[in-house]
C-alpha cells in the first residue's frame, strides 16, 4: 500500500513556501501568502496531484547518527544483470515518468513479484553496485533513480520504506533518499541534513497512515 504525504516548507524569514510537484518532481517556490488563499491552494493541489496525497504538518527525520553507507560487493552473474537492468529502468523512470505514478508502479510491481526477505544493508550494497556499474565517480547526482531502485528492492523484500523528496530551503537544490520511520538509509548524514522532506511516498503493509509515522 502506497501512501503519499506532502507538506509545504514555509520559510518565515523570506515569507516563501517551497514544495515539490508530485506530478513532475519540480521545485515550486511561491509566496507563502498564496497558500493561505483556499481557492488557489485547491488549484495547486489539483494541478500537482496533491489531492490524492495527504497533507501533513511534519515528517519525522532521524539523521543524528551516520548510518550504514555500504561496502563494495560483487553479486552473481544473474543478479548483476538484473541490477543493471533495474538501474537502467530506474534512470528511465526518473527521467520521464510522473513522480507519483512511478512510485505507485514500483509499489505495485514489488507486491506482485515479492522476493525472499533480504537485509537492508545487502539491498543498499546491491543498488550501489548497480550505480557504480554505470558511473565511475564515488558520488553521483543520481539520487532519484537510486532512491527508486532502493524503494523497489526494499518493498519487494517486504520492508516498510519511505521515499523522500526534500528541498534545501531557500535554494533550488533537492535530494531524494529512502528512510524507515524517518531514519535515513544509505546516505551521508552531513549531506542529507541540508534537506527537509516535503514529499514522501510511504510503502507499507500497514493500513494507510495520515499522520507522521
Amino acid at each position: 500500500m502506497l501512501t503519499t504525504l506532502w507538506r509545504p516548507l514555509v520559510d518565515e524569514e523570506s515569507a516563501m513556501a517551497f514544495l515539490v510537484s508530485a506530478r513532475t518532481g519540480e521545485l515550486l517556490a511561491l509566496p507563502a501568502a498564496e497558500l493561505r488563499v483556499e481557492a488557489r491552494a485547491k488549484i495547486l493541489e489539483q494541478r500537482e496531484r496533491l489531492r490524492r496525497a495527504s497533507r501533513v504538518e511534519a515528517m519525522d527525520v532521524d539523521d543524528w547518527e551516520q548510518g550504514y553507507l555500504g561496502r563494495d560487493m560483487r553479486p552473481g552473474p544473474l543478479d548483476r544483470l538484473a541490477l543493471r537492468l533495474g538501474w537502467i529502468l530506474a534512470l528511465a523512470l526518473a527521467r520521464w515518468a510522473r513522480l507519483d505514478s512511478a512510485f505507485r508502479g514500483l509499489e505495485a510491481l514489488a507486491l506482485r513479484f515479492p522476493a525472499r526477505r533480504s537485509d537492508v544493508a545487502g539491498i543498499l550494497d546491491a543498488v550501489a553496485f548497480a550505480e557504480r556499474s554505470f558511473h565511475r565517480a564515488a558520488r553521483t547526482q543520481q539520487c532519484l533513480p537510486r532512491t527508486m531502485l532502493r524503494f523497489f528492492l526494499l518493498r519487494r523484500a517486504g520492508h516498510d520504506v519511505e521515499a523522500n523528496i526534500g528541498v534545501w530551503v531557500p535554494t533550488p537544490m533537492m535530494h531524494a533518499w529512502v528512510s524507515v520511520h524517518g531514519r535515513t538509509l544509505g546516505e551521508e548524514r552531513e549531506e542529507v541534513m541540508h534537506y527537509q522532506p516535503c514529499l514522501r511516498f510511504v510503502g507499507s503493509d500497514a493500513p494507510p497512515c495520515r499522520e507522521p509515522c
Binding site: 524569514e13 517556490a29 543524528w64 534545501w168 531557500p170 535554494t171 533550488p172 552531513e190 541534513m193 541540508h194
Partner: protein, 535 residues
C-alpha cells in the same frame, strides 16, 4: 587602489594620475577603468633605506614594507616591481582583469605604466633579459639622492612590454635589476622528509607561527570545522598559559541544526570560553557596523556585516588579534582549483556587455593556456595562492586588532608545496582534506576528524541577497554611470536581483562579485558604516 577614470599623459598615451587614501606610506597612481593598478610605497623620510643588492633583498623590502608578516606573493600578482634603492620606495604594477602584460616607459612624469596602447605595434617586446638591460640603462641615470626616483628618470624612452611570464624588479639608482618567473622562491627544504616527518614539520610550523602572530589575547573564529579547530588547538598547545577565546557564528536555519555539536567539541578540546554571535543578522550585504578599507576590490566586501560582527566582538572580548581558518584549504593541499574548475567552459557572463565579456573570455583563455603549459599541481598551488591573497581579512581597527592570516607564512607555503608534490595526497578525493585528517589527527576531536561534509552556505547567500535586494538595487542605480562605463549592464544586474528576491534561483556568482565591487567602491567614498547599502 583601483582607479576609476582613464586619463592620458601629455602626449596622449594612456596612463593614470590619481591619489587615493591608503595606509600610511602608500599612494597610488590611477589606472584605467579596467582596474589596472600602480601602487607606490614611500617610507617615512627618516626610515633607513635598505640596500637592495640582490633580488632576494628586493623581496625582503617588499615583505617588510608592503605586507608585514605576509609572504611575498606579489610576484604572482604584479608584472612590474620597482624599488628605489636609496629610499626604499616601492612601485608595483599589475593588470586589471586577469594578469595581463603591461606596457611601461619613463618620461618626464616618471615611470608610466599602461595596459593598452592606442596604436598597435608601437611597443617593443623585450624578453626578460632584455628588459633587465633596458632598465639597467635607465637606472644608471638616476641621481643617488633622489626622493621620488620614479619621477626623475630620463625622458624619451619608448614603450616596452613587460613579458607576461616575468616579474621585473628594478632598484633605481643602483643599477640593480633582475627578473624572476612568477612563482614562489622555492628552496625545497622539505624534500628529503618522509611523510611522517612532513606532517610533524607542518604541526610544528603552524604552532610556532600561531604563537608568533598572536598579539596578546587572541580570538579564534571557531566554526567546528577541521581548519579552525586545528588552528585553535595549535595555539593552545603551544601557548597553554594564555587566555585565548573563541568566536562562533550560529544560525537558526535547518541545515545548521547539528553544527553546535562540532562547535562545542572544539571548545571542549581547547578549554576556552566562547562568544556566540547570531549569524542570521549578518548575512551577505547586511549593514556592517565597522568600516573596512582594503586597498583593492575584494569579494569579502559582500560579507562586511559578518566581518564587522566578528572583529568587533573580538575587540569587545579584549582580544588583540583574530585568527580564522582562511587559507587552510590552500595550505593543506585541499584546494579544488584545477583546470576544470578554474576554466569552466560556458561560464555565465550575462551581466556584462559584449565587449567586456569578450575581453574576460580572452583573459580566461590566456590563463588556461598558461596553465596548460605547466605542471598541474604547480598551477593548482599558484592559483591557490591567488585565492588566498584575495581572501585576506582586513582589520577595521588596526591599532586594536590584528587580523593577519594565521596560517600563511613562507614556511607553511613551502611545506604545502611539498604536500602538493607527494603522491599520497595528490588528489583531494572524498571525503576530502586527506593531508589535514592525517597530520592533525592528534589534535582534532573525533567527531570533527570524522566529519565528511561541511555545512553549505548556499542558503545563507540566497537569504542575504533576497533580504537586501532593495538596497542593492538602489546602490546599483547610484553607480550606474561608472558600471556601464566599464562594461557591466546595470539593467541586467537589477533584473537578476529581482529574480533572486522572488526565488527564481538565478545564477548568483557573477552578481555577488559585481555587488561586492560596488560595496567596496562605495565604502571607500563614505567613511560611515552601512552607507554603502543605504536606500
Amino acid at each position: 587602489m583601483l582607479t576609476l577614470e582613464r586619463s592620458a599623459s601629455g602626449d596622449g598615451r594612456p596612463g593614470w594620475r590619481m591619489r587615493l587614501d591608503l595606509p600610511a606610506g602608500w599612494w597610488s597612481q590611477a589606472g584605467p577603468a579596467s582596474g589596472d593598478i600602480l601602487l607606490i610605497y614611500q617610507p617615512p623620510a627618516r626610515m633607513e633605506a635598505p640596500t637592495a643588492a640582490s633580488i632576494r633583498s628586493v623581496w625582503q623590502v617588499l615583505q617588510q614594507r608592503c605586507f608585514p608578516r605576509l609572504p611575498v606573493l606579489l610576484g604572482l600578482d604584479y608584472a612590474l616591481v620597482a624599488v628605489a634603492g636609496e629610499t626604499g620606495a616601492v612601485s608595483l604594477a599589475r593588470g586589471g582583469i586577469g594578469r595581463t602584460a603591461l606596457f611601461f616607459r619613463f618620461d618626464d612624469a616618471g615611470l608610466v605604466v599602461a595596459d593598452d596602447l592606442p596604436r598597435p605595434g608601437e611597443h617593443e617586446d623585450v624578453d626578460p633579459d632584455g628588459v633587465a638591460a633596458y632598465l639597467s640603462n635607465c637606472a644608471s641615470a638616476v641621481p643617488a639622492d633622489t626622493v621620488h626616483t620614479t619621477r626623475t628618470l630620463q625622458a624619451g624612452a619608448g614603450w616596452r612590454r613587460v613579458p607576461r611570464s616575468a616579474v621585473v624588479e628594478l632598484t633605481l639608482g643602483q643599477s640593480q635589476v633582475g627578473t624572476t618567473p612568477h612563482q614562489l622562491p622555492v628552496d625545497e627544504p622539505y624534500r628529503d622528509l618522509d611523510d611522517d616527518g612532513l606532517m610533524n614539520a607542518f604541526r610544528d610550523a603552524i604552532a610556532r607561527h600561531a604563537v608568533a602572530r598572536a598579539v596578546g589575547r587572541t580570538a579564534v573564529e571557531l566554526s567546528g570545522g577541521i581548519d579552525s579547530t586545528t588552528l585553535a588547538v595549535a595555539l593552545q598547545s603551544a601557548d597553554p598559559a594564555s587566555s585565548h577565546c573563541g568566536m562562533s557564528l550560529t544560525y537558526p536555519y535547518h541545515e545548521f541544526r547539528h553544527e553546535q555539536r562540532y562547535v562545542e567539541a572544539a571548545y571542549a578540546r581547547v578549554g576556552w570560553q566562547g562568544v556566540r554571535l547570531d549569524g542570521s543578522r549578518t548575512l551577505l550585504f547586511d549593514s556592517p557596523t565597522a568600516v573596512f578599507d582594503p586597498p583593492e576590490p575584494t569579494r569579502l566586501a559582500s560579507g562586511y556585516a559578518q566581518l564587522s560582527a566578528v572583529t568587533m566582538a573580538a575587540i569587545d572580548a579584549g582580544a588583540r588579534s583574530l585568527f580564522n581558518g582562511h587559507g587552510a584549504d590552500q595550505i593543506f593541499g585541499m584546494s579544488p582549483y584545477d583546470r576544470q574548475s578554474l576554466f569552466k567552459p560556458g561560464i555565465d557572463l550575462g551581466l556584462l556587455h559584449a565587449p567586456l565579456a569578450a575581453r574576460v573570455r580572452e583573459h580566461i583563455d590566456a590563463m588556461r593556456r598558461v596553465h596548460e603549459d605547466g605542471d598541474p599541481r604547480g598551477h593548482r598551488h599558484f592559483f591557490a595562492g591567488l585565492m588566498l591573497y584575495d581572501r585576506w581579512v582586513p582589520s577595521p581597527v588596526g591599532s586594536d586588532l590584528a587580523c593577519d592570516p594565521a596560517l600563511l607564512s613562507v614556511e607553511t607555503l613551502q611545506l604545502s608545496w611539498e604536500v602538493f608534490r607527494r603522491p599520497r595526497w595528490a588528489r583531494p578525493g572524498y571525503p576530502g582534506k586527506p593531508f589535514a585528517r592525517e597530520a592533525f589527527a592528534p589534535w582534532l576531536p573525533p567527531c570533527i576528524l570524522e566529519r565528511r561534509w561541511k555545512v553549505g552556505y548556499d542558503g545563507l547567500y540566497r537569504r542575504g541577497l533576497a533580504r537586501n535586494a532593495t538596497r542593492l538595487v538602489a546602490m546599483l542605480a547610484r553607480q550606474r554611470e561608472h558600471l556601464e562605463s566599464i562594461g557591466i549592464s546595470v539593467e541586467r544586474c537589477i533584473e537578476r536581483i529581482e529574480r533572486c528576491r522572488a526565488f527564481h534561483f538565478e545564477n548568483m556568482e557573477l552578481l555577488i562579485g559585481v555587488l561586492g565591487y560596488c560595496v567596496w567602491r562605495e565604502t571607500r567614498v563614505s567613511a560611515r558604516p552601512g552607507d554603502a547599502l543605504r536606500t
